[in-house]
């Protein structure tokens, strides 16, 4: 076991899969010689050579398309999109091609491409370095969508994603790269070494896709979150001393409906928190599914705490970010409702 931050954990995941499987290649803007603007691919080109760790032109559509072609020819590309905000030029290749290739060819062809991309806010990145676009992919059939909240899961999920035979969009909450973050920018930064999930096994392991994790058991209500919001949810529950059950979704597609519903059926109350904007966000799907299945157990309306429905505003980051107090307000409301 080693202490790792999320960057190191992700790097280790690629390193291990590249060692075990010569068909794994890494490509993206600035990922090669430089090791990526967040240093996630640091050292990989030195170790595996310029033909397995490729710097690319600044063309997200081309990166995804080339990855699909490579995958069809037997490689396992791990493509980095420098920021999730810049994934849209590749959207057609993801939606129309990557996600549908297996289906439309009845399994004759498939493209096990993993797309890694840093997402989320809290870094003063403004409208084009802070987005959380998971819902724009969750609605697309044929691609898995994953978001870890800690180094341990990051490594295990990334290995599982690269080794998965379906395409995976791997969203990395960049605010968590260096340490957990509970939503309060005024607190001193905490490194991952202070967190149990900063303990990461050295070798190969999977955190399975499709499985949520109950990170805290409780009976008063269920909080469902993923990425950075897991830590905010914990802080919010703590701040109210609530006996909350907190679930880290981890895998957005496929979704572990069973774990979520088992919890809500038990607690009867539910708050969902994500950074992405609220309207038609993934919280809506979570809400809809849970109310369909747990209607008779629900004692209060399910509440969503999300980014407001505006682009991510540079100067108002801490009004915008759904922080501890906003989550706590929803928790209190759901607990009061009867």
């Amino acid at each position: 076991m080693a202490q790792m931050n999320m960057i190191q954990a992700l790097n280790a995941a690629m390193d291990i899969t590249m060692t075990r499987d010569p068909s794994v290649v890494v490509l993206g803007e600035d990922v090669g010689y430089f090791g990526g603007v967040f240093r996630v691919t640091d050292g990989l080109q030195r170790k595996y050579g310029v033909h397995r760790v490729l710097d690319t032109p600044i063309a997200e559509g081309g990166i995804i398309a080339a990855s699909i072609g490579m995958a069809v020819n037997g490689l396992r590309p791990v493509a980095e999109i420098q920021f999730a905000d810049y994934i849209y030029p590749g959207y057609d290749q993801i939606v129309s091609e990557l996600a549908r290739l297996r289906y439309r060819s009845a399994g004759a062809f498939s493209a096990p491409v993993t797309i890694r991309t840093p997402c989320g806010g809290g870094i003063r990145g403004g409208q084009t370095h802070s987005q959380s676009p998971e819902a724009l992919f969750a609605h697309v059939c044929g691609i898995k969508v994953v978001m870890p909240s800690n180094p341990y899961d990051a490594k295990g999920l990334l290995i599982a994603s690269i080794e998965d035979d379906d395409p995976v969009l791997f969203l990395e909450p960049k605010r968590l790269y260096n340490g957990p973050f509970d939503g309060d920018p005024n607190k001193p930064a905490v490194p991952w070494s202070t967190h149990p999930k900063g303990e990461v096994p050295d070798g190969h392991y999977h955190v399975p896709l499709g499985k949520a994790e109950v990170i805290r058991e409780g009976n008063a209500l269920t909080i469902i979150a993923y990425g950075t919001m897991v830590h905010v949810a914990e802080a919010a529950a703590r701040s109210l001393s609530l006996d909350a059950e907190i679930i880290d979704v981890r895998s957005i597609v496929p979704l572990d409906v069973e774990t979520l519903c088992r919890s809500v059926a038990k607690t009867g109350r539910c708050v969902i928190a994500h950074e992405a904007t609220r309207f038609s966000g993934f919280g809506a799907e979570l809400t809809a599914t849970i109310q369909e299945r747990c209607f008779w157990q629900l004692e209060a309306p399910i509440q969503r705490v999300c980014g407001y429905d505006t682009p991510y505003p540079h100067a108002f980051e801490w009004e915008y970010f759904p922080g501890t107090q906003r989550v706590a307000r929803a928790l209190a409301a759901v607990m009061e409702a009867r």
């Binding site: 490579m70 069809v72 289906y103 060819s105 044929g142 898995k144």
Partner: protein, 411 residues
């Protein structure tokens, strides 16, 4: 407002009711264009994107340095595949008109593009066609019945009912899956070729799009990635002059050839008579040699004419003269190869008629067989449960539930 407008708006040379005019098509005499070494620099080959590589002259003789010097047997095979393509197209459109299939697209007049472009490659090379290269599947050995079952979405449909007619693929034939989205496979073919190069394999990829589709961003992605990594790929733009109702000028063909895009990216661009089987074969072979020698990719513009409607849903008489195709200066590819073989003394009208009759019978027999595996209205039908498979490799829980829902009753 329109009076003072300085906006330039392309216009096709003729519209319905006007006389066809192909004066805009720049021709070169057969045999007139030099054939450089495949390793020459793109900058030194720019004239190839302006001139037109042609081998067959007006007397149906093969001329000049691009003559691929094929065996008679190979020429006859080429003629057979082209004619088969045409017969197949004609019959399949008829079945569409009879309501037996929902949709069809012919490649009439463009048969040389796919047939010669495939024959000039090795069977291990990977093909990324668009929807108008049915000839490629035939050359690569797809059975007529298999193709027809795809058109019928029946129980033997290779796509398991999931795709519109003509969206074939072939795993043993190394022909990639297509969809209705234009140009998407162009940069994918470059990625495939990059992987071939990374793996040190000798295979190359070849990909086709229409001139209209070259307007899509993926055309640029393909050329750029092919150029940067010198990928072993052949990028074919089939300039059949039309994109549904839109003339090639709207894809940028008014100012320069489509081949001319290549040199800007450091990729040789060759303008090729797409109705000349020998020219297409030779240019493809040249590009293949280039790719295999590690010199990188080639952009081929195949100049041809979409003699038929865009698809079974289209009526071209609404936007171009009815007799356009007959006036096309590069003639008909089947007829030209036939006349070449006749000129060589290796073919005759009689043999041609016999071949046509044979192929027609083969296609008819295949159709008969194909329909026994189900049609739109009769016979066995694919299991609707298949609808839920292959979205992911394993069926996830939510799709199991939706399958169960379907079992409760459709509609």
């Amino acid at each position: 407002m329109p009076h003072t407008s300085r906006l330039h708006v392309p216009r096709p040379p003729s519209r319905p009711g006007e006389a066809p005019d192909f004066g805009y098509v720049r021709l070169s005499p057969a045999g007139a264009v030099a054939r450089p070494d495949v390793a020459a620099s793109a900058a030194d080959m720019e004239s190839l994107s302006v001139d037109l590589i042609r081998v067959l002259d007006d007397e149906h003789r093969a001329q000049g340095p691009w003559n691929p010097r094929l065996d008679v047997a190979e020429l006859q095979v080429g003629l057979r595949y082209m004619l088969l393509t045409r017969v197949y197209d004609d019959r399949m459109l008829k079945t569409q008109r009879q309501g037996k299939i929902s949709f069809y697209m012919k490649s009439t007049g463009e048969e040389a593009v796919a047939v010669a472009g495939t024959m000039a490659l090795r069977p291990t090379d990977m093909l990324f066609p668009s929807y108008r290269q049915q000839g490629a599947y035939l050359v690569r050995g797809s059975a007529l019945v298999d193709l027809m079952c795809q058109l019928l979405s029946n129980t033997r449909d290779m796509c398991k009912g999931r795709q519109l007619p003509v969206m074939y693929h072939s795993v043993p034939g190394r022909v990639f899956s297509i969809s209705g989205n234009l140009a998407t496979q162009f940069p994918q073919s470059v990625g495939w070729a990059m992987a071939a190069a990374i793996k040190g394999s000798d295979d190359l990829a070849s990909s086709w799009i229409g001139e209209g589709s070259s307007a899509e961003a993926d055309f640029h992605h393909a050329l750029l990635f092919a150029s940067v990594y010198r990928a072993p790929v052949i990028l074919n733009v089939v300039n059949n002059q039309w994109a549904i109702s839109t003339f090639q000028g709207y894809a940028g063909g008014e100012q320069r050839s489509f081949a001319a895009r290549g040199p800007g990216y450091g990729i040789p661009g060759l303008r090729v008579d797409g109705n000349d089987f020998l020219a297409v074969y030779a240019a493809t072979a040249w590009a293949a040699e280039r790719a295999r020698r590690g010199a990188g990719s080639t952009l081929l513009e195949l100049v041809t004419y979409r003699a038929a409607a865009h698809s079974s849903s289209d009526d071209p008489s609404r936007y171009r003269p009815r007799d356009d195709a007959d006036r096309w200066p590069l003639g008909d590819p089947v007829e030209r190869l036939k006349q070449h073989l006749i000129a060589l003394g290796e073919w005759s009208e009689e043999r041609h008629q016999a071949l046509a009759a044979e192929l027609d019978a083969r296609v008819a027999a295949a159709w008969k067989e194909a329909t026994t595996y189900g049609t739109q209205t009769d016979g066995p039908r694919l299991d609707p449960d298949l609808m839920f498979e292959d979205v992911f490799k394993e069926l996830p829980q939510h799709l199991k539930e939706q399958r169960d829902d379907m079992h409760r009753g459709r509609g």
